[in-house]
């Protein structure tokens, strides 16, 4: 076992906080977006779909820059949130979570949408004939059946949130203890001449955490599959 330095600990706990927050906020929104894209036909469907994919297409630095303009303290959204809710993103770990969440968003919406599209509408019909409101059908039939997709989205999103670099450093900079996640710490080390060993250690920490999350998610997925599958 390697023993972690305090800077490494700091980066690790910060990363977990940032990734978990990003996931906790973005996943429900992604479920909503995935559902809307899968089941609703509305004007601007294509536009919404396109906007969701943007963080994937643009270089992360650009996304970070756009976030800076919008969510910075003097940005339109940022100043509103700050004055109304006292919520600050600029140069805070919350901003890192925001960046991570936005970068992870398209990766989450896709599998969720796919899984919801795969839910047989006939089952939803059957639930409707029992006299159930759409929201209950959604909660008890549609979403549970789409759970494997939501789980896949969760793990993709968590991995991306852990690894997010470009948008984060651009938006909230690289402040130790506040915004220097593992990914930024690895970068910092790698950009330093002779920083290879430090970079390697940090990389290993990231990898171990990600593997842990992955294994946990696989175990959950296997349970889900067993529940639904049944006999051959």
């Amino acid at each position: 076992m390697i023993t972690l330095t305090s800077a490494e600990w700091q980066a690790l706990t910060l990363t977990l906080k940032v990734a978990a927050t990003a996931l906790a906020v973005a996943l429900p929104v992604a479920v909503f977006a995935g559902y809307a894209l899968a089941r609703w036909r509305f004007p601007g469907h294509g536009l919404v779909n396109g906007v969701i994919h943007m963080p994937l297409v643009l270089p992360p630095v650009v996304t970070g820059y756009v976030l800076l303009i919008l969510f910075g303290r003097s940005g339109p959204v940022g100043s509103f949130l700050e004055s109304t809710f006292g919520l600050t993103f600029a140069f805070r770990w919350t901003g890192a979570a925001l960046a991570a969440g936005i970068m992870a968003f398209p990766l989450m919406v896709r599998p969720i949408r796919l899984a919801i599209e795969a839910v047989d509408p006939k089952l939803e019909e059957a639930a409707a004939t029992l006299g159930l409101h759409r929201s209950i059908v959604l909660a008890i039939v549609t979403l549970p059946l789409a759970l494997p997709g939501i789980l896949a989205a969760g793990i993709l999103g968590f991995a991306k949130a852990m690894g997010e670099f470009g948008a984060t450093i651009t938006f909230v900079s690289n402040i130790p203890g506040e915004t220097r996640t593992l990914a930024l710490a690895v970068y910092t080390a790698a950009q330093t001449p002779d920083g290879e060993v430090a970079a390697f250690r940090l990389t290993i920490i990231s990898v171990v955490v990600a593997f842990g999350a992955l294994i946990a998610s696989e175990a959950v997925a296997r349970r889900l599959a067993r529940r639904i599958g049944g006999a051959a």
């Binding site: 630095v61 003097s74 910092t188 790698a190 950009q191 330093t192 001449p193 002779d194």
Partner: protein, 230 residues
């Protein structure tokens, strides 16, 4: 040669492109560039990138590359120097006193934008200067180390941070900022841009380095806010 490939720090983009155009007009040799952070460029050159010339933004990376045997040591020259300035949004152009109080009263609860103090040369120089001026200890917790100088500059220009430390060359380019203080040149190691011919360079690379000493090239550097050296 028909064509020269230059791997250079992103901050030299304007100067080198202008110089390259002049060189092409004169010699008919086309010049192409790959701009990125110095660290990336240095590691790539070390890994055998098809570069004829390597332009670093600081001596540290040039040393690294020289140790790796990727450049010809005798060809290393300094092509330009630069200075640091403190900038503020144009709306707030009063001069700044380089003291803890001076900084803190201007910052309020906000941060001081700098380039990353560990990875980016501009940030390392800023850190050295702040230490030399006995400001670093007080300001360390108030820094916003950005991915590169240009983003640090942009945050100031947008009023996101009330102050930033950037290269004088960058400050010239941005209309929305005002220089509110100049950092004494002796407070940090000399800001130099060393260049060298790589060990795999084609014919004509040395000639380009020589061309940079011509008045034409020096003018290009000056226009970009850099100080050419003799």
């Amino acid at each position: 040669a028909e064509r020269l490939t230059i791997f250079a720090a992103a901050s030299l983009k304007d100067a080198l492109e202008a110089a390259g155009k002049a060189y092409a007009r004169e010699t008919g040799t086309e010049v192409v560039y790959s701009f990125a952070g110095t660290a990336s460029i240095a590691r790539q050159v070390e890994a055998g990138a098809p570069a004829d010339l390597f332009f670093s933004a600081d001596e540290l990376w040039m040393d690294h590359v020289r140790h790796a045997g990727a450049v010809v040591p005798e060809t290393i020259i300094t092509v330009a120097t630069n200075t640091l300035v403190v900038v503020a949004p144009k709306t707030n152009p009063e001069p700044l006193e380089l003291t803890t109080e001076g900084f803190l009263s201007r910052l309020g609860d906000r941060r001081l934008a700098v380039a990353d103090t560990e990875t980016i040369p501009a940030g390392r120089y800023a850190k050295a200067a702040l230490s030399d001026l006995n400001l670093y200890e007080d300001l360390a917790g108030r820094l916003a180390p950005m991915e590169n100088v240009r983003i640090a500059l942009a945050t100031v220009a947008r009023g996101e941070t009330p102050l930033g430390i950037v290269y004088a060359s960058d400050a010239i380019a941005e209309k929305d900022v005002a220089v509110v203080a100049e950092i004494p040149e002796d407070s940090h190691p000399a800001i130099v841009y060393p260049a060298a011919v790589t060990t795999i360079a084609r014919q004509g690379a040395k000639e380009f380095l020589a061309f940079l000493k011509t008045p034409q090239a020096r003018e290009a550097f000056r226009a970009a806010g850099l100080r050419p050296v003799d």
